[in-house]
Symmetry: C2
Subunit: 619 residues, 2 copies
């Protein structure tokens, strides 16, 4: 591809204006693509203090240098916006056919701004067309995709859309393509606020790489990296992200009953072996060229959840809608997962919000009068379908659930904030940081709030940390670990490469792939500089929106309530020590957490350095 | 096309043997195609007394001379089998893409026999392939179609499949293609009993007509027939089969609360105008070349049934799952309809079975102990999703519902048979024959039991009969009406042409179309002879299975309980008079209802005449 003739499409929904803009070559050189490129665009495009659900917010659909190529793990796209759930920086990625197809339209990025007067969907082919989405308004994500394919008479057009949750501005609504989603932080609600039901893409252009021969060679190296790690390479094809659950469970890292327990009677029924044996019907890949097939068509075919089919379950979903809700019936989790996909809801925020409501109900903070007469207790899996539907449509008690744990705690009061399991409004992923302290930094300092994807909390890194034995409880060395895994994650999201192959592909090979694709000549160290740049732009975005050290915190339960049972008994998170170390390493001001102008200038971020200077002066 | 080089495909699921057989020219000359052709094959292929759910039963997927051509209403197929619900003759038709695509494979018919050891699906392209259906076993009809398209990497392959209801041998399980079904009498259960999950077809051959120029001309005549009936031509595009509901309701012909009432407070909320205004999002056609678009994408987007999308609702569904169950909330009917399509259940038998259970519950014949603790009362629309699911999976009380009204009444006893609204086990369509007496003959003598499609009970004819004023209550002339509409229906089902256009296309035009397609030279009178032939073969099939005059009856409620309110107050059905007239006209033995050898010989059915002779002698 090289750095020339790269374009973005700018779509103003308020005016109907559509423009093609050339991407400056130095943007690609300095920010590579995908996440970091979206970071700098978002920082520059959005004014400070914009209401995330107003026409002034934007949605940036982006691809990376590897999107649409034959590189492993490359069929992905990324969306940047300001999150209605956190009011802060947001990105989100999804695998599937949409990303590669978008890239084949000839646009690396699409920036959506403004707000349409009426529901519309956007069709991007060789032309760009707005179409009336009124007939599809209210349809779930699956029906929406079928509707558009039928209307356009193109069964292979690729669609990213919202369901009722996005339309109804549920704060953790997703954008869904096929059965996968840009899940966290409410990008779907932003789309809904713009009256944009869907984007359909159909490309006719070939995705070209700068040096095809070198690229082919790099792909071979990547495949050989994967092959040389047979253990890891076996787990994901079998169990997807659920692979690590038994180890995490045994290590007391999977939170149960809204993080009250480290395990639960019968909890093993949620293990991946049970799941694979009883429910998995087929291994599916999100799209070519991936051959990991981490997605599993899971079918419940008997009992009260009979008929439910999901293309999951992810570990996070099993944690949030299962363990966290005290639900051990896996078929109920399959059903809930499928409903979340259909309605367009983030399963983590949905599950953790439900779990929070369950604990509030059991503690008498709320009663059946608040919950439409439902006894919302842990383990009551038959309640899920209605509660999830009512959340998507913001009906009855679902209206409260649709706001997420932070806002529910504000409404419920009575000390419930202490066990509202979010950071900055974002519900936590399923790794208890009291059992692996680097995770605390991932949650506390994550650019999109308490998300496990801000670094090494995900399967891979947590397992490594657990394997260190007693060292996992120490604070020493955890800042470095958190910073490295954070930037490693930015690298994956910028390439863009799925972390499942990326975890076993050497950085040198990834550099080889990226250089062959772009025509750049970046060392691994250059790449990490770009990633640190991205990480600091994201931090600066949040600083600009008011985030300071005091916001880099964790729920009281993790700081003050020590673990009551299991291997981590007695542990809490020593956050201050961890933060000091982390800020120091990142070059952020210890007192405020604002990136120092000096570090920003080292990273070549002059304008942002000036911005941060002004915030530091105002402290 | 002509009469030569026409083939059927015979598939033996027990042995895996697949054979192409040429269709004899005289078969096409004598039996035309579609329904009548299937009738004679079914009669000849099946031994007497075969268990419908045994490997000895067969399924015949058939097309007609017009299938796959440009004739209006032609995208349809027909399935013949022996019904597990009635133990008698069964046919069923469905519109959509499957029929034309099947014809393009070069086979006019596919005969399925035997039983596969394991779940399979059949792929018919230029080759015929059996594929493992185990991963899809348990999936609903929509997921099944997606699964197969994905597995075959062909998003436009056309699929007829069963859902869990068919797999679980629910006696009124459907075969579903897209979102439409071969609905009545349990063809889906027959498919399930054979471990056949689906048939996928992809044709490469052009459907040819004998005289293309004459055919083009005939199509023009058909379109001009349609255009010359602007009133009728306006109703179906707007409301589909729901068009007639207000008239039927006003005429006291739409049965409420299991046929206890002729209307119901708030019943107007089920009217098509409300439906179109509140729920219909898009007019859709089953497949080209139809342009009536009688199907309506209906979406419920708020309240307890939010998110439900159906490609309906048909009048029959509104009657069965709505009026008959005392449910006036149309969004609940949309939800129930969508679930029936997904699980593969006939909406009429499902609704009437539910209504029967509701009356039994309200009368204390069954209690909450029988119904898994559920209070199954009229109007309780929130019960439907669970009851429908449990029927499809034959769980709890659903196990009883899955057997239909006749068998439930046998289990419940206590006089419930008097209001079990079926004939020969087949639940009745939504036209009260006490308000239009020809309908009594349609139900009492219908080849597949108490079905409205055995003649003029459907929208069109009932409306004409209602328009005769007092005459509608008389028995005079009704035998002729019933016989003519019965044969007219056989004509439509043999052509094959959808009755919506067929109702306004003149018989002369249809003859023109058929002659141009086949190269035959049939007069309208010849066509009706073929139809009478079919009608008698169907009757002979049932006689062979034990049907005599005593089986040609109606539920006691229609014979002995006079209508209590509305325009038809005081009316019952005078069945004996009607039957005498009808048998006489049909040339059936008055005492037994067996077709007389004389009439059969007039129709050229020598072998069947001999068969019937033997039954007459044994009386």
């Amino acid at each position: 591809m090289g750095l020339k003739n790269r374009y973005l499409l700018r779509v103003d929904l308020s005016t109907g204006k559509v423009e093609r803009e050339e991407l400056p070559g130095e943007y690609l050189r300095n920010y590579l693509g995908g996440r970091v490129l979206g970071d700098v665009l978002l920082y520059n495009e959005l004014s400070v203090g914009v209401d995330p659900l107003s026409p002034q917010n934007k949605l940036i659909f982006g691809t990376g240098p590897l999107t649409g190529t034959s590189a492993p793990g490359s069929p992905r796209y990324i969306v940047h916006s300001k999150s209605p759930l956190t009011g802060l920086y947001l990105n989100g990625l999804a695998g599937g056919y949409f990303g590669p197809e978008l890239r084949r339209t000839g646009y690396d990025l699409v920036i959506i701004e403004g707000k349409s007067e009426k529901p519309v969907y956007l069709v991007i082919t060789d032309e760009v067309e707005f179409r009336d989405a009124s007939p599809a308004w209210g349809m779930n994500t699956r029906d929406t995709q079928d509707f558009i394919k039928d209307e356009l008479n193109d069964s292979n057009i690729r669609i990213a859309c919202i369901g009722p949750a996005g339309e109804n501005l549920v704060l953790y609504a997703c954008i869904v393509n096929e059965r996968r989603g840009v899940s966290r932080g409410g990008a779907g609600a932003v789309m809904g606020s713009k009256n944009l039901k869907a984007i359909a893409v159909r490309g006719t252009k070939k995705v070209e790489v700068a040096d095809p021969a070198a690229f082919q060679k790099a792909v071979k190296h990547a495949l050989s990296d994967i092959a040389s790690n047979p253990e890891r390479s076996k787990q994901y094809p079998l169990y997807g992200s659920m692979a690590a659950m038994p180890t995490l469970h045994k290590a007391g890292m999977t939170p149960w009953r809204n993080w009250q327990d480290a395990s639960y009677p019968g909890g093993e029924s949620l293990f991946p072996q049970t799941w694979r044996e009883k429910y998995v019907r087929k291994d599916v890949r999100c799209a070519p060229p991936c051959n990991i097939k981490c997605s599993k068509l899971s079918l419940s075919s008997t009992g009260p959840h009979a008929g439910a089919l999901s293309e999951g379950i992810e570990y996070e979903t099993e944690y949030a809608l299962g363990a966290c809700c005290g639900i051990t019936e896996q078929s109920a989790v399959i059903e809930a997962d499928a409903l979340c996909d259909d309605y367009g809801l983030d399963t983590i925020s949905m599950g953790v919000s439900l779990a929070f409501a369950m604990e509030c109900y059991e503690k008498g903070i709320i009663t059946a009068q608040d919950t439409d007469g439902q006894e919302i207790r842990f383990g009551k899996d038959n309640l899920l379908p209605r509660l999830i539907r009512d959340t998507a449509y913001r009906q009855g008690f679902g209206e409260l659930l649709s706001r997420g744990t932070m806002r529910m705690a504000q409404v419920f009061g009575k000390g419930s904030e202490a066990f509202a399991m979010h950071v900055k409004g974002m519900e936590l992923g399923g790794y208890d940081p009291r059992g692996a302290k680097s995770v605390a930094l991932v949650y506390a300092c994550g650019p999109r709030g308490g998300c496990h994807k801000a670094g090494g909390s995900g399967n891979g890194q947590s397992l490594k940390e657990i394997a260190t034995g007693e060292a996992r409880y120490r604070t020493e060395g955890k800042a470095a670990l958190a910073k490295h895994t954070r930037e490693n994650r930015v690298l994956a999201d910028s390439a863009i490469m799925c972390i499942f192959p990326q975890m076993v592909i050497r950085d040198e090979t990834l550099a080889e792939l990226l250089n062959a694709a772009t025509g750049l000549n970046l060392s691994v160290s250059d790449l990490y500089t770009i990633c640190e740049r991205g990480s600091n732009i994201e931090r600066a975005f949040n600083v600009r929106e008011g985030v300071r050290r005091s916001a880099d915190t964790l729920p009281r339960r993790l700081l003050k309530e020590s673990v009551k049972s299991g291997p981590n008994v007695g542990q809490v998170v020593e956050l201050d020590t961890l933060l000091d170390d982390f800020y120091k390493l990142c070059g952020w001001d210890i007192e405020t957490g604002i990136p120092t102008p000096a570090r920003l200038r080292e990273l070549g971020l002059e304008k942002i350095a000036e911005d941060m200077e002004s915030y530091l002066q105002r402290r």
